[in-house]
Structures are given as C-alpha cells and as structure tokens.
C-alpha cells in the first residue's frame, strides 16, 4: 500500500477538515466535534503508515509534488509536498500519539463546557503539525509553523477565563514569535539568494547540492559562510519553538493549558517541530562543515545550545514541586539532548530520541493528567502522595514512563536513544563538553524522576484531595497502557544490534558499530543512571515526606541552590527586567515622541499662528487705529480753537477786517514801496 507524493496533502487536510467542522458546530455538538477529530486522526494515521510504506520502498529518495501558490509580477511563489523517510516516520508518530491523546482527552475534558472548541483546536493543531512535516517549501513550513504557534496559543489559553492561562498563552506566542522572526529573516535571505524556497525541486531546490555549493561559498561579513548565517537564523526559529536555552521560559508556563494539550504539544509534537526543522534543513547546516576558514560552524552552535539546555532543564526540574512543571523542564532537557545530537552530527540519533521521547513523555504527561484529574486538579507534589495504591494502572504506566525517561538500561527505549546520542557526542571531534553535559543531565534526570514518583505515588496522601483519588475510567487508562507498551517496544527498533530505524531514516544502511562506540560509555551511563535513582530513592523514597509543609530534603541540604532552582534560575524575572523593561521603555519613547515631540511641534505652530494673530490685532488696534484717532482728535482740537473765533458778533468781524487791512497795507507799503 503506498501513497504517492501528490496525495500527501491529504494527511494535514483531514484534521483541518475536522477543525473546520468543530468550529462550525455549535457548543452542543460535543460528540460530532470529537468524533470528527478522532476519525480524522485515524485517517491521518492510516495515510501516514501508507506514506511510510512508500518512503521505505524508496530509500534515500525525496518524492516531491510542487505547485504554484500565486504569481507576483513575472515570478511565481511555488510550494510543494515532500515524502521521505523522515516525513513518514514523524507523521506516523504524530498521528499515533495524537490519536491516543485525543482518546484520553475525551475522558479528561468530559465535563468542560467548551468541549467542542477543544477538539476543534486540537485537530487544527494536528493539521498544522502534519503540514509542517509534509511541506517541501520553507515558506509552507513557515506558514504551518505559525499555525502551530496559533494552535498552541489557543490551546494554552483554552481556559482563558484564568488570567494566568491567558498570560501564559500570550507569553508562549510572543516568545515563539521572537524565534519565528529569526526564521523569517533566514527564509527571506534564502529566498532572496536562491529565488525559491522549495527544498527539493528537481535539482535547483534549496537543499540540493548545487544550491548548497553556492550557499557555502557565499561569504558575508564576519567570515561566516552564507549557509551558516541562514542556518543559524533558521535555528533561531527552532530555539523559539522547541524552548531551547534563551527562549525556554514559555514552556513551563504553557502547563496552564489542559494536560492533554501539554502532552500533545509540549511533549510529543510541537516542541519536536524545532528539532524536525533542523533535521529537515540538515544538508544546509552541514554545508559549511568542510569549510576550513569559516569562523563558526552552524552545528557547533546547535550542539552548544543543546548541551546548555539539557543541563539547564534537568537542573531546574530538580527544584520544581508542580508535577507538570517537572515534566516540562524534563522535556526542555530532553530537547536539549536532541539538539545536542543534531549538533554533534547525527540527526538520525536525534530523530530516534525524538520518537522515543514522544512516546514516554506523552505517557508521563497523560499519567500526570490522570493523577490531576483524579486529585481534583491538585498539581503540587507536596500535597499529593500515596497515590500508588489508589491508582494502580496509572502508577504502573507512570513507572514505566519514568524508567524509560531516566534511561533504565536495556529494557526501555529511552536508554537506547540516549545511548545513541551519547555515543554520537562521544564521537564528535570538536569537543567533549556536550558529552559531559549529557552525562550530568542523565544523573539529574534519573534523580528528579525518582523524586517525582516517590513524592506522588509513594508515602501517604498529604491532602484530602489526594486521599479521595481513585483510578480513572478506561478511556483514560487504555491510552496509558498502549503508550507504555510503545515506550518499551520502540527502543527495540533502534538498538545497535538491529539499527533498523537509523538505516531506514538515513536511507543508507548504518553499520552497527557506527552507533555503538563501545561498551565503556554504555557501562558509564548505566552507572550514572543507577547513581541518580539511588540518590533519589534515598532522599525521597526511603524517608517519606510527612506533610505538605515539610521542607524538601534537598532544600535542607543545599538551601541556596535549591531555592534558585525552584525559582527557575530567575530567567523570567531577568527577562522581565531586561526585555520587558526595554519594551516598555521603547513604547514610552514612541508614545512620548508622538505626544510631545510631534504634538509639541504642531501645537507650537498653532501657538505661533495665534501669537501672530494677536500681534497683528494689537498692532492694528493700538498702532494704526490709535495713531489715526490721535490725529483726528488733534484736528478736532484745531477746528475747535478756530471755531471760537466765530463769535457771531458782526463788529468783531469788521474790526478784524480793518486790522487785517491795515497790516497788509503796511506790509505792502513798507515792503513794496520802500
């Protein structure tokens, strides 16, 4: 049974259709929405398996189906669908885990009022995630990438009436958005340089050798190869989405969403998208490896970030008291492992760990979900306890998940995938630091998982909610069991003895020894795991916590460190202080600029106009009119004076005449006749 590339688009289309149906059904159509969602996921799973079949049939082949989205001017914007083993395996994992989580959430969200909207958002998320997997163009990836972000925003903020959930949703979206900006810039740069964003386009795709050669030779300032720069920009997107070191702050807050959401998004799929993206564009990241004179190699940065995140995540997880927070930080550290694997050059190990991690982390989250569901939404370990006896299946499946995560040797998938990474790190020529970080993280992982299990399941219940807890309905426990089985069996397909997965992924037969460096490292890791388990048991398993308020033994031992870890190393506050404040400042500057500077100029002009007006009136009033009035007044004065001469008395006139005559005559006589 094979699925041609051209019909690949059906995989994301089905859940999208389900999402549309969910959106249009009114609040009451609960079964319609959930039924549509689950059927869609089953369909997607079937198609993914068929696609896997096709992919396995054509090893090392990239089956593409490209089409034009729209043309602008003369050049067309082209998108496409891609089928290769990576896509197939990821699609199967996502649809299988998604299906299980859908079924689990049927029970978990039963009494929630917005049941239909929940499934609509879930199917929207699934469609977007599958879209990212099957996309053949970085633009299509980006589109689906943003939709995944939207879906996570909607799901985290599902219980939007809780202010903390709304804030967490916003924080998640904004932080991922910052990462996406880097991805956008990388994409634009690539588009500008290559003129197309298709990965594989019959020769001139971005990831084809011809373009890789061109990209790697391109030099930009700072001695960095063009491909490195673009790679790193794309990696920014991955950091944001996968919660890597600088941008991991949103992941713990994302626990505000319902637990199935956390399971689906923050365990299996969404956070894995970052790793998948780097895996997808791996050839680009590798392009600069062979260049000698390049100041930095993309993968070195990836490895570094991965190592730091792994170590950081594990350390903070130790200090958390909320079950989901512990699991969230463990996810951060496991993603750090995957990035580390990619960084050290073996993307196959990363993907193998991704697949195994998806199963046992989904299992752990669903387990935590059933615990919370049972304990009436009580999430704090200190107030739980003694649930092992009350919730047998949950406890059993949770224990399987814990052991897989911790990497209990041989039986559990977690061990093999982690070993693969450690061996790859060991084989990394550049430096051994990632290996060391990895080993430390192994210890810490084992420790905080035993702490979690001991606190929650062992000992006596420390709150009445915990005491009333009882096992959930089968609709919730069956997915747990299936996942537990998966967590165990999946490891088998990737063991060094039978590296089926790795060879199929890479499309080339991978010799056993390439992933098995030798017994020495394996023994070391086993020892470290046992160490972690032992210490964990010693502190929490053996001497049970007496009551909710007892101080954490670790806090007693190392108060300063434990407090710091509990406060998530203060990254949130740090960011709030720096970026938050900067943001606020810039806003204030912008608004102030608008209000005072430009507004000031305008009112200044207005004021000047007014002043001119008053000045003009003043001049007119006092200057012109005043002067004129004064002059006319003076004239009237003269007139007045003259009028006094007109007495009306005839004699006076005659006398004046006579006098005038005499004077004139005298003048004439004296003047003239002289």
């Amino acid at each position: 049974m094979n699925l041609s590339a051209s019909s690949l688009w059906l995989i994301p289309a089905l859940p999208l259709l389900a999402a549309a149906i969910g959106a249009l059904t009114p609040r009451g159509g609960r079964s319609l929405a959930s039924g549509a969602a689950i059927i869609a996921m089953v369909g997607a799973l079937g198609l993914s398996v068929a696609a896997l079949g096709t992919a396995l049939a054509h090893p090392a082949a990239h089956l593409t189906d490209n089409f034009t989205w729209f043309s602008i001017g003369t050049d067309a914007v082209r998108l496409g669908w891609l089928l290769d083993p990576l896509t197939a395996f990821m699609a199967v994992m996502v649809s299988f885990v998604g299906l299980l989580i859908f079924i689990f959430s049927l029970g978990y969200m039963k009494e929630d009022a917005n049941f239909t909207r929940f499934f609509c958002f879930l199917s929207l998320f699934a469609a977007a995630m599958l879209g990212v997997l099957v996309a053949n163009s970085l633009l299509l990836v980006f589109v689906c990438w943003e939709l995944v972000g939207l879906a996570s925003y909607l799901l985290i903020g599902f219980w939007f009436h809780k202010p903390s959930a709304a804030a967490a949703a916003k924080k998640a979206f904004i932080t991922t958005r910052i990462g996406d900006l880097g991805l956008l810039l990388g994409m634009l740069w690539l588009y500008h340089v290559r003129g197309t964003l298709l990965f594989y386009d019959g020769g001139n795709g971005v990831l084809e050798p011809s373009s890789l050669a061109l990209l790697s030779h391109g030099k930009i300032a700072g001695g960095i190869a063009l491909s490195t720069a673009i790679g790193l920009l794309i990696f920014c997107g991955a950091i944001g989405k996968s919660g890597q070191f600088p941008l991991h702050v949103w992941l713990p807050d994302a626990m505000e969403g319902p637990t199935p959401v956390s399971a689906l998004i923050h365990a299996a799929t969404m956070v894995a998208a970052g790793v998948f993206l780097i895996a997808r564009v791996y050839p680009l990241m590798l392009a600069d490896q062979h260049l000698a004179n390049v100041s930095v190699h993309a993968l070195t940065v990836v490895a570094g970030i991965g190592a730091i995140t792994a170590l950081l995540g594990a350390a903070i997880a130790v200090g958390q008291n909320d079950i989901k927070r512990v699991l969230a930080f463990s996810t951060v550290s496991q993603l750090g492992y995957m990035m580390l694997a990619l960084g050290v050059g073996s993307w196959v190990a990363a993907i193998f760990h991704l697949l195994t991690h998806a199963f046992f982390k989904a299992l752990l989250f669903l387990g935590a979900g059933s615990v919370i569901h049972a304990a009436h939404h009580e999430q704090d370990m200190r107030r739980l306890g003694g649930l092992g006896r009350r919730m047998k299946i949950t406890f059993a499946t949770f224990a399987v998940g814990m052991m897989a995560l911790a990497g209990v040797p041989f039986l559990f998938s977690g061990f093999w995938s982690k070993e693969g990474i450690l061996h790859a790190a060991h084989a990394w020529p550049v430096s051994q630091l990632p290996l060391i970080a990895g080993l430390i993280a192994v210890v810490l992982t084992a420790f905080y998982m035993t702490r979690l299990v001991a606190e929650v399941f062992l000992g006596s219940p420390r709150s009445d909610a915990a005491s009333h807890a009882h096992e959930n309905s089968p609709v919730m426990t069956v997915p747990l069991v299936i996942l537990a089985i998966g967590a165990v069996l999946l490891g088998l397909i990737g063991t060094p003895a039978w590296p089926w997965l790795q060879s199929n992924l890479g499309g080339v037969v991978v010799p056993a020894e390439s992933i098995f460096e030798g017994p020495g490292l394996m023994v070391l890791s086993i020892v470290l795991v046992c160490l972690g388990l032992g210490v964990g048991w010693a502190l929490y398993g053996w001497r049970k916590r007496r009551d909710a308020f007892a101080p954490d033994p670790l806090a007693v031992a190392m108060p300063g460190v434990f407090a710091a870890l509990a406060a998530k190393l203060g990254f949130d506050e740090f960011y709030a202080l720096t970026f938050g404040r900067l943001n606020q400042l810039l806003a204030v500057v912008a608004d102030g600029l608008d209000r005072w500077v430009w507004g000031g100029i305008i009112s200044g002009v207005a004021w000047m106009g007014e002043a001119l007006g008053t000045f003009d009136r003043e001049m007119d009033e006092s200057g012109l009119n005043g002067g004129f009035d004064a002059a006319s007044e003076k004239l009237r004065g003269v007139g007045n004076a003259y009028s006094r001469a007109q007495t009306g008395e005839a004699h006076g006139y005659l006398r004046t005449l006579a006098v005038a005559f005499v004077v004139l005559a005298l003048l004439l006589l004296l003047g003239g006749v002289l």
């Binding site: 006398r655 006579a658 005559f661 005499v662 006589l669």
Partner: protein, 171 residues
Amino acid sequence: MNLTFALIAFLILASAVLAATRRDLIHSALLLVGNWLGVAFFYLWAGAEFVAFAQALVYVGAISMVVLFAVLLTRRMRTELPLLVATRDRVVSAVLGGAAVFGVLAVAVLRTPLDTNPAKPAGSVSMLSLGQQLMGPQAAAVLIVGVLLTVSLLGAVVLASSDADGKEGAP
C-alpha cells in the same frame, strides 16, 4: 474848481460825522440823506450827471425811505441807550481803527504817483454812448442787476411779512 470841491467835501464829511454821532436815529438818518446828496453833487462836479441824478433818485428817493421805515418799525427802543462802558471802549477802538485805516490810505494815496488829466469837460460822457455801452457789452450785467433787484425785493417781502411764530407781525 477847488472851492466847489472843498464845499462839497465839507458837506459830505460833516454830514457823515454828524450822522455817526447823533443820538437820535431819525436825525442821523436825515443827515445821512444829506451825505448822499453831497455825494450826488460831487458826481455833478465830476461831470457825471446821469449818475448824480441816479444817485439822487435812488438814494434820496428810495433808500432813505427804507431807512426811515426801518427806524420807525423798530421804534420801541425810543432812544439810544446811554453809552455803556463797553460801548465807550468800543467807540475808542473803532475810532483808533478808523484812524489807522485812514492813515494807511492817506499814505498810499500820497505816495502813489497819479497822473491826472483835468481837461475832462463836464458832461463829457454822453447819454448816447452810455446807453449803447449799457445795452451793448454790459447788457448781461444790466439783466443780472434786474434779476437781482427783483429777487431781493421778493426776498425782503417774504422775510418781513412772514410771521413764522404765528402771532401777527410786530409793527
């Protein structure tokens, strides 16, 4: 010739001065008539009979009547008020003024070189030439004077007779 001139001059000046100084209006009016007659004689002496007779006819005949009528019609003021102090000052200033004017005129007359031609015989202007002159170039003037006379007389009649304030005209 000088004798008659002197006589005429004396007659004119005396009557004028007396007329000015008489207290009784009628007397001064009549003296004034005398003055006009003197002037008429002067014209005769100067040889302009027509003007003399015209002067006599108009002044002595008509204007004297007007003056006398004026005096009679305003007779309530029986006699001139005794000379008030103010009037005394006025008289003094008037005389001074008059003297000054006369002085100036006299000086002017005596200084200006006037060539005289005594040879003009009496009656030298013939009535015929005078008539032609009047009716010829001066015809317009004659007409205007005619109109002037008519208008002024009508005006006088209107002024005097209109009793604007409603009661009968005073005597």
